[in-house]
């Protein structure tokens, strides 16, 4: 008898206690959105993670929502998280933080789900790449670099902070194409993030590096790095360097990050999410966070982001097909 009692008590405990002690659900009927879950498809500390956590915190500070849960599901350049998001069809309380890197990963990983399957919510920010060399590099302008690069692409190794298909890989490939270098001849060396690349640029191991400006600001200010160009359409405040266009390389390229939701969610849910981020964009907390992280505000809600996503998808696919990666 005691046996069955114990087993029964154990069963009741494991099934009933956890839900009772876990807050959440739609209990409050206030205007705040509750129980929103934010999926981050890369590891803690990565770009999507910082964007997601910063946005969640700004929303909570501005009283837009409560109990937002940010969780990481890293893997295969974000495509594991993408797969989960696409599988959660109709779930109006899940969003995923993502960016340009995921677009390329879908191709290099031959992932079954595409970003075009998701419901676009908003593009939030952009982060232009910079073309950077060490202070002791022989190249003083982009024109000098391009001349040497065209003469012998193999002898001018390019370092980037992302694996093939990622933003730092796409930028030099687009540049090469624009100046008439066959992309397949580009000697691209992937590093494990902008940090590891930084050491190789400082030590003169690679001829030049292409990476997001984030980790490099202090070095640029200290004069140990020289920025030859920024890849965005406009110059970046505080960085004394021309755009690629000004230097005669017709490429406009920015890494960007945004938010998507699972496919097939109701119009009410979609409008509520788009509205949430539109409101977030206007808050002082978000604007301050964007400034502090050195991001460029590039807000584009719903449909507008969807169109942009399709264009980016086509552009990435074209480059990767040229390289035989897609």
């Amino acid at each position: 008898m005691g046996n069955w009692l114990a087993a029964g008590a154990a069963l009741v405990a494991v099934v009933v206690v956890p839900p009772l002690l876990t807050p959440g659900g739609d209990s409050g009927a206030t205007g705040q959105l509750r129980g929103l879950r934010v999926l981050v498809p890369n590891a803690p500390g990565g770009g999507y993670d910082i964007t997601a956590r910063t946005a969640a915190k700004a929303m909570e500070d501005a009283d837009l929502l409560r109990n937002a849960e940010v969780f990481n599901l890293p893997g295969a350049g974000g495509t594991v998280g993408l797969g989960r998001t696409v599988a959660e069809r109709g779930n109006g309380k899940l969003i995923m933080s993502m960016g340009l890197g995921v677009v390329g990963s879908v191709y290099t990983n031959k992932a079954p789900s595409s970003l075009l399957d998701t419901t676009p919510v908003a593009k939030l920010i952009e982060e232009p790449d910079i073309v950077v060399v060490g202070a002791e590099s022989p190249y003083r302008t982009l024109a000098e670099l391009v001349a040497a690069w065209k003469a012998d692409p193999g002898a001018v190794p390019v370092g980037g902070g992302s694996s093939p298909g990622g933003p730092d890989h796409l930028a030099p490939m687009l540049m090469a194409k624009a100046v008439g270098i066959e992309p397949r001849t580009v000697n691209y060396i992937p590093f494990d993030g902008g940090g590891e690349l930084l050491a190789s640029v400082l030590g003169g191991k690679v001829a030049f590096g292409v990476s997001g400006i984030g980790e490099y600001r202090d070095q640029i200010e200290a004069g140990t790095l020289r920025v030859l160009a920024v890849t965005s359409a406009d110059r970046i405040p505080g960085v004394d360097a021309p755009t690629l266009g000004e230097s005669g390389v017709d490429v406009k390229f920015s890494n960007w990050r945004g938010i998507v939701a699972p496919p097939g969610i109701s119009d009410v849910d979609r409008d509520r999410l788009v509205g949430l981020f539109t409101t977030l964009h206007k808050t002082a907390q978000w604007q301050e966070a964007v400034r502090r992280n050195g991001w460029t505000d590039a807000f584009a809600p719903g449909e507008e982001f969807g169109t942009f996503l399709e264009e980016e998808n086509t552009r990435v696919a074209t480059v990767l097909k040229d390289l035989g990666l897609a």
Partner: protein, 499 residues
């Protein structure tokens, strides 16, 4: 010294202590390494001013590392990659009732390694940072070659079985997208395998799951006595054996931590091999519970963590996952680490460095008395002990990605560990293969790409030439010795090499 004034205020001391406790508590949880611990506790520090927040981080960081070693020693389930090596001798020690000594050796190792590493950080940071960026792919590859040579000393009694194990590890290391070209290797089209198999999963599977299955097959039924806890403190004999490894470890760990992509896995392994080579009297104990095998690698891991801070603070360069999370935290406060940090935020930096010393001291003070208590954990009956090990191994594998696939990977590798135990294939070379293989391949190919395919690219730096010279000496020294004194009976080492 101003740093200590900053760090020694009662509030900051309390934050450091809280950080150490939280870090240790979370570090012992399965699947949560120091990087995850710091990331998870980031929100806790939101309300604090920057100095207080970073002082707490320092505590969490060291606490998390020590927590990872604790489970490594007691349950054979390393919480993070730097603690993998500690399981090799730490767990056998614990099984013999010397768990408290193993934990004490680890705690003091962490303290000594951290103190020496942090001192080096204070004295050498700018110099080290300057040279660290000169270390490139050819140099890394040379170090990997050296490490592969060192593997031969852990192949065990049978060389061919040791090599088989190493190759199994290298094969596991191949799984995933090729980092240089983005090509799939051994993924069989599965996205879950695209990032490769995490070395911690492999280690927990081979060590803990494999061991549990093996024990199940040959469970000693007649003995019901729980594992003895033994004397709680390090005896004179232990101290005599451990003090040299404690002091040697930092000299291996700190430089590795300071160079980009150095990490803690390779130096902890090199420290282990070094201690094994240098130990004359106790070499046979290695793998069966040699205190040197815990003391050296743990001091190395801690010093490597201090080294990591060099490149992060002076270059803004995160070389490990923890450093990346801390860098992100710095940026949350609008602080950009880099060459100007020491001038701009001097009080914060010195406060942080002072708090590293304080955090280490607190770690030792808090954890040394706890060591015997932790070790008592092993007194629980065998069925519960192994059930608990499997339970925590599963939680750890699942919690990271919330994916059943990881549990299946762990099971398959666990069965492999079982078979390896049955047929005398040592487990350690497989782990080394998983760690070294991918790193060596990547650095070699990177070096060749930098030189645009010219083989000279592998040996075109002074550092790599020096390392290869050391490799040559190591390879040919036994040969020369034999030639010079052919009549000498073979040394114990050579006997053990026989197949």
């Amino acid at each position: 010294m101003g740093g200590f004034a900053t760090a020694l205020t009662p509030t900051h001391l309390a934050l450091a202590a809280l950080g150490v406790l939280l870090g240790t508590a979370i570090g012992v949880l399965p699947g949560i390494g120091p990087a995850m611990a710091v990331a998870l506790l980031l929100p806790v520090t939101y309300g604090l001013e920057p100095t207080g927040a970073f002082i707490m981080f320092a505590g969490i960081y060291y606490g998390g590392m020590f927590g990872g070693s604790t489970t490594s020693i007691l349950l054979n389930t390393p919480g993070e990659s730097a603690a993998v090596v500690a399981a090799i001798d730490g767990n056998p020690m614990a099984r013999k009732g010397r768990g408290a000594q193993a934990l004490a050796a680890a705690a003091i190792g962490h303290f000594v390694g951290g103190i020496i590493g942090t001192t080096a950080l204070v004295l050498l940071a700018p110099t080290v940072a300057k040279y660290a960026v000169d270390i490139g792919a050819p140099d890394f590859f040379a170090i990997m070659v050296l490490a592969f040579i060192a593997v031969t000393s852990v192949l065990g009694a049978s060389r061919v079985r040791g090599f088989a194990s190493l190759l199994i590890g290298l094969t596991i290391g191949l799984v995933g997208l090729d980092e240089m070209t983005g090509q799939q290797r051994l993924t069989f089209g599965s996205l879950h395998l695209a990032d490769g198999i995490d070395v911690v999963i492999v280690a927990v599977a081979l060590f803990a799951v494999g061991e549990s299955l093996w024990v199940a097959a040959h469970l000693r039924r007649n003995v019901a006595a729980p594992i003895p806890v033994g004397r709680p403190w390090l005896g004179r004999a232990d101290l005599k054996r451990a003090w040299k490894p404690w002091l040697r470890g930092p000299f291996i760990g700190f430089p590795f931590g300071a160079i980009p992509a150095g990490g803690a896995e390779i130096p902890t392994f090199l420290s282990y091999v070094t201690e094994k080579r240098l130990s004359k009297a106790h070499r046979d104990e290695f793998g069966k519970g040699a205190i040197e095998g815990v003391a050296g690698p743990e001091a190395t891991a801690s010093a490597s963590a201090a080294g990591t801070l060099v490149s992060m603070l002076t270059l803004g360069l995160p070389t490990t996952a923890v450093a990346a999370v801390m860098l992100a935290a710095f940026q949350q406060y609008g602080i950009q680490p880099g060459p100007l940090l020491f001038q701009r935020e001097s009080s914060l930096v010195w406060g942080l460095i002072a708090s590293l010393f304080i955090g280490l001291t607190l770690l030792l003070v808090l954890n040394l008395p706890l060591a015997p208590l932790w070790a008592k954990l092993l007194r629980i009956p065998r069925p519960y002990l192994y059930a608990g090990i499997l339970f925590f191994a599963s939680v750890g594998a699942y919690a990271v990605n919330a994916d059943v696939f990881d549990l299946l990977v762990m099971f398959v590798i666990g069965v492999l560990g079982f078979v390896m135990r049955r047929y005398g294939l040592p487990v350690l070379p497989a782990i080394i293969g998983v760690i070294l293989g991918p790193a060596a391949e990547q650095q070699m190919r990177r070096a060749l790409q930098l030189s645009d395919g010219d083989l000279v690219g592998l040996v075109n730096t002074p550092f790599s030439i020096v390392v290869y010279a050391v490799v040559a000496v190591l390879l040919f020294f036994p040969l020369i010795r034999k030639l010079v004194r052919p009549e000498k009976p073979s040394s114990p080492e050579e006997e053990r090499v026989e197949v």
